[in-house]
Amino acid sequence: MLEIRRFEEKAGQMYGMGLIGGFCHLYIGQEAVVIGMQAAVTDRDTVLTSYRDHGHMLARGMDPKGVMAELTGRRGGYSKGKGGSMHMFSQEKGFYGGHGIVAAQVPIGTGIAFAHKYKDENAVCLTYLGDGAINQGQVYESFNMAALWQLPVVYVIENNKYAMGTSIERGSARTDLYHRGHAYGIPGAQVDGMDVVAVKKAGELAVAHARSGKGPYILEMHTYRYRGHSMSDPAKYRTKEEVQKVRQERDPIERLRGVLLDEAGVEEAKLKDIDRKVKAIVTEAAEFAQHSPEPDASELYTDVYA
């Protein structure tokens, strides 16, 4: 979680320096969701999500250097600098994007689950989506097919309360999103997405359900994004107090720190050590991302066709 937090802070800083361009959607505040879920799956399972994807890739074990270099649009990036912040993939790590069209990843993830079943792989696809994406029609087309064909997919709704500047109350007739599969007989659960242990537990149940051939499962993660929707969002649709309150009371990293120090008896020095290591990893990624050269001009015409 700390690695994601520090990575995102660094990305924000590098955006500020003009090293990262375009849209850049930070994951700060939501780290417990991907870390908890990753602890509930295996390497043969697959993951995909929207444009807010940096945390998912790091959780998946993708190299921070390659992710950061894609953010800076360099040769060493996961997509050779041609995909950018919103479009990265790693077949090796079972990560299938990085999708810029809201909710498009939902049928695609359902299709990957279809392929898992077709190939008899006993693998599960984690398909993440937002509280805004949940209202797209193709989500329900996917729910129906996934339930109809009993596909091994877990839909993880990251309910961070806002779709850009639209709060969930202003965008959804019913705000309890874990019910949304009810009409298709898909079980759902509501989870405190700021508590990494709770996420892991719920994730294990859901993944076991999908893996056992019982079909899809929906997890609604209650979470919160601290930063604006993207780097250029002044976030005037919520108060500073609202953000500050979540940071103080529910921050997933501080909470885990508390558990580790008070309940698990981990020593402060050990945590400081982790801090230092994480900082070094992120610094190295940032260095790499600034020094990796831009893609060769000849790359303009490559990778269009196989």
């Binding site: 003009g18 997509s79 479009h87 097919m145 002044p234």
Partner: protein, 460 residues
């Protein structure tokens, strides 16, 4: 060493901004996440949060300052354990060289003209002639056989769409496939084009080879986002990692008397897109050979059929390994006086026109484009070098149509050989009318093609 806090870029287009207000004073403790200052960008007023922890050592740019360049140092932050004396050691005002933001591709890359040829005019692959035995098949049977043979050959190939399994296909293209391959590989979907096109793309990302049937291409409009944004672009966006070996197929263009929402040619829409291949055969032999190539192709292929053609019979090579390369046009009738190029159902009308023209002493050469992307420009240009005249016929509308692209290509590649302007024969520029007489007027007929050919030959 104190850390320099730089003027941040807070929008994709910002180059400078106004430092409105400092929220911290010199000497204040700063925790990561604290609001440091307010900055007015070209778009909005934004708060700048601290990323590092420490103590605000020195403010370098006073509040109220206008036009502060992005990346200029605005303050110094003292790290844990540092005191103010460290400020003296700081290399003041030696801003790091402005970040060299990656130049937009257009500037660094060679001009498109000098660059490798885009896929629309790729060199045509070789085609083998068939001199073995043949059978008479309808286009419908040829398409079915192509799918069945490829499904026998590769267990990763499967068919999905509305009514493709139990009902045997809305237009009976998938007849017998459910019996032979079972429900795992011949899949009836709900009426959810956007959803199942996306499911197909996901399966293709993961290495399966889906054939997604649209009952007609009119309904692919529901799914066009996945064809365009998911299938066609992902290989590029993933730096070559993730391909979409998928075929989107179904009838395209005008059927009969089904009116505007069910009669439209989408060829030029798909032809526009790098990353897609687009095929629109006329004969049964080409339908079979091209569909097999499309299924084997590692790229997404839009395969445009035509309902009116389904029942027409042609000679087809009698083998289960007949393929036709994508990207190769075919001269279906040689001639010397004028070239008529067309695709799909219009090839038949072009041949009809050529017959009529022959009776008047004009020998037309008819080219069946077969593939629209990549387009076999060379075959058209070679023909025009011989005939010096080109008529292009399509069912679609003229505006930004396939013919518009062909005319532009002739300007670029055959200008010196043309003895008359390229002439387009297109569908009338109206939504398809329902009334039989109006529908006939809206669709280009053989007589319109013959008329156009005579015009470019300056014959009466």
């Amino acid at each position: 060493m104190p850390i320099e806090i730089l003027m941040p870029a807070l929008s994709p287009t910002m180059t400078e901004g106004k430092l409105l207000k400092w929220h911290k004073n010199e000497g204040d403790a700063v925790a990561s996440g604290d609001v440091m200052a307010e900055i007015e960008t070209d778009k909005a007023t934004m708060e700048v949060e601290a990323v590092e922890e420490g103590k605000l050592g020195k403010i370098l740019v006073a509040e109220g300052t206008d036009n502060v360049a992005v990346n200029a140092p605005i303050a110094l932050l003292l790290e844990d354990g540092e005191d103010a004396s460290a400020l003296d050691a700081a290399p003041l005002a030696t801003a790091p060289a402005p970040a060299t933001a990656p130049a937009p591709a257009a500037e660094t890359a060679a001009a498109p003209e000098a660059a490798p040829a885009p896929a629309t005019s790729a060199p045509a692959p070789a085609e083998t002639e068939w001199d073995g035995p043949s059978v008479t098949l309808t286009v419908r049977e040829a398409l079915r056989d192509a799918m069945a043979e490829e499904m026998r050959r590769d267990p990763d190939v499967f068919l999905m769409g509305e009514e493709v399994a139990q009902y045997q296909g809305a237009y009976k293209i998938s007849q017998g496939l459910l019996e032979e391959f079972g429900a795992k590989r011949v899949i009836d979907t709900p009426i959810t084009e956007h959803g199942f096109a996306g499911v197909g793309v996901g399966a293709a990302f993961y290495g399966l080879k889906p054939i997604v049937e649209f009952m007609t291409f009119n309904f692919a409009m529901q799914a066009v986002d996945h064809i365009v944004n998911s299938a066609a672009k992902t290989r590029y966006m993933s730096g070559g990692q993730v391909s979409s070996p998928i075929v989107f197929r179904g009838p395209n263009g005008a059927a009969a008397r089904v009116a505007a929402q069910h009669s439209q040619c989408y060829a030029s829409w798909y032809m526009h897109l790098p990353g897609l291949k687009v095929v629109a055969p006329w004969s049964a032999a080409d339908a079979k050979g091209l569909l097999k190539s499309a299924i084997r192709d590692p790229n997404p292929v839009v395969f445009l059929e035509n309902e009116v053609m389904y029942g027409q019979s042609f000679e087809v090579p009698d083998t289960d390994d007949w393929t036709v390369p994508i990207g190769k046009a075919k001269i279906v009738r040689p001639g010397k006086d004028v070239t008529i190029a067309a695709f799909s159902i219009m090839v038949g009308k072009a041949l009809e026109a050529a017959e009529a023209l022959a009776a008047e002493g004009i020998e037309a050469e008819v080219i069946d484009l077969r593939s629209l992307r990549p387009l076999d420009t060379a075959t058209i240009v070679d023909s025009v070098k011989k005939t010096n005249r080109l008529v292009f016929a399509e069912e679609g509308w003229p505006s930004a149509g396939v013919g518009a692209e062909i005319a532009a290509l002739m300007m670029e590649h055959a200008f010196d050989w043309l003895d008359a302007p390229v002439k387009r024969v297109c569908g009338a520029d109206v939504p398809m009318p329902y009334a039989a007489n109006l529908e006939k007027l809206a669709l280009p007929q053989a007589t319109n093609i013959a008329e156009a050919a005579k015009q470019v030959c300056y014959a009466k």
